[in-house]
């Protein structure tokens, strides 16, 4: 199977073709997977993490898995500096990065990191805080918002996803056309938000689709656990991003939700993210 990305690969919806097989599912019967990024001129955080999660899930199913790197050298250098090629190679995915130089193109606060436990998350949050302080980028009150979002995304991934491939995330300074921003992105290859909420019998009838489940998960005191005080983390992040030109994107299964100050909240159906991705963009 070859999965081909469009030149502007911002999220899985920009993959060519109608639908994607789910490498977590029992009906998945592929033996070889090629993810073809050769035409890519731009790759967004959601797309980067989709490539990692899909590749590793396919690998975990015993597939021979190959990532065809972009022909655009700038995009290649960016992905290499992010740590994407190294991580995939270490996990057994074939990535031919011949001639792609090492270069600090991604301006990373926290490089692509794997989380397995809450301890890993707390360690990464403290590393992020130290790195933000020493970077001289952004104000202290923004550091708090960034670290908090990163921590909550990663905590949700390690606590609720039951991902067989672990969870991954990074934190980056990025000069976009809208000005300098911090980007934090975390993803897992686990059961997804809908399945997690369905574990709570009181929520089962409220989450018929992935895109509905994401909306419900952002409400106060909603959790797949039945503990009455849980379910504040994502709600808190969602409250924080509804101001000051911040953005939050969550993708889980075939659902996606986008929140920003002027848009408020918009959910939609999209192509499969086999797990959950959370991504925040916060002006410095």
């Amino acid at each position: 199977m070859r999965i081909v990305a469009r030149p502007q690969f911002i999220h899985p919806g920009h993959l060519k073709g109608f639908a994607l097989p789910d490498p977590r599912g029992s009906r998945y019967d592929e033996s070889n997977v090629e993810i073809d990024l050769r035409e890519c001129e731009f790759i967004g955080p959601s797309a980067v993490l989709w490539c990692i999660v899909f590749s590793l899930l396919a690998k975990q199913r015993g597939n021979v898995c190959t990532l065809l790197v972009p022909e655009n050298m700038g995009v290649c250098i960016y992905l290499k500096s992010l740590g994407m090629f190294r991580l995939l190679q270490e996990k057994g995915v074939e990535v031919d990065d011949l001639g792609v130089p090492e270069h600090d193109a991604a301006r990373l606060i926290i490089p692509l990191t794997e989380f397995e436990t809450e301890y890993d998350v707390e360690q990464a949050a403290n590393d992020a805080d130290l790195s933000l302080m020493s970077s001289g980028l952004g104000a202290a009150n923004i550091h708090y918002v960034v670290t908090n979002a990163f921590s909550e995304f990663a905590l949700n991934a390690v606590q609720h996803s039951e991902s067989k491939i672990g969870s991954f995330g990074y934190l980056q300074y990025y000069e976009s056309s809208n000005g300098p921003r911090f980007i934090c992105a975390v993803a897992d290859g686990g059961m997804g938000i809908r399945r997690s909420l369905e574990r709570n019998p009181r929520l089962r009838s409220r989450v018929p689709y992935d895109w509905v489940a994401i909306e419900v998960a952002l409400q106060e005191r909603v959790s797949g656990t039945q503990e009455p005080t849980r379910g504040m983390g994502l709600f808190g992040v969602a409250e924080e991003v509804r101001k000051a030109q911040r953005q939050l994107v969550i993708q889980s299964g075939i659902g996606a939700l986008h929140i920003q100050e002027d848009l408020r909240s918009q959910s939609r159906r999209t192509k499969l993210f086999p797990g959950t991705l959370a991504y925040a963009s916060i002006p410095c």
Binding site: E122, N126, N141, H143, Y144, E152, M232, G236
Partner: protein
């Protein structure tokens, strides 16, 4: 009132997990010399706490107060952020109100 400096107990400066909050609660319990109505936790030097940490901290400190036969009366000195609607919502779920004093401390207690 007994005042305890969090920075003397915990090495991290960003407090994320429920486990960290439970460990902090256990340390505070061990440091109290006897029953005390009001506990002040000084967060000087702490640069961040997540909602999950704060939620578990209130649970832990509430258990401590109940074990001493009274309602929770907690002061949070030098909080690492401004009091937000999220903190207030976390307090509400525990039946607690959180007020910000003129000095910036948070006063946490049973809702009237």
């Amino acid at each position: 009132m007994t005042t305890i400096r969090i920075g003397d107990i915990i090495g991290n400066r960003v407090l994320v997990t429920r486990t960290s909050a439970r460990n902090l609660g256990a340390s505070v319990t061990g440091m109290l010399m006897g029953p005390t109505e009001t506990i002040a936790l000084d967060f000087k030097g702490i640069r961040g706490i997540t909602p999950s940490f704060f939620d578990e901290l209130l649970l832990s400190m509430g258990d401590l107060a109940r074990s001493q036969g009274h309602d929770l009366d907690l002061r949070i000195i030098n909080p690492p952020s401004e009091l937000s609607s999220v903190h207030e919502a976390i307090g509400r779920a525990h039946g607690l109100s959180i007020l910000e004093s003129e000095s910036g401390s948070w006063l946490v207690g049973r809702r009237p």
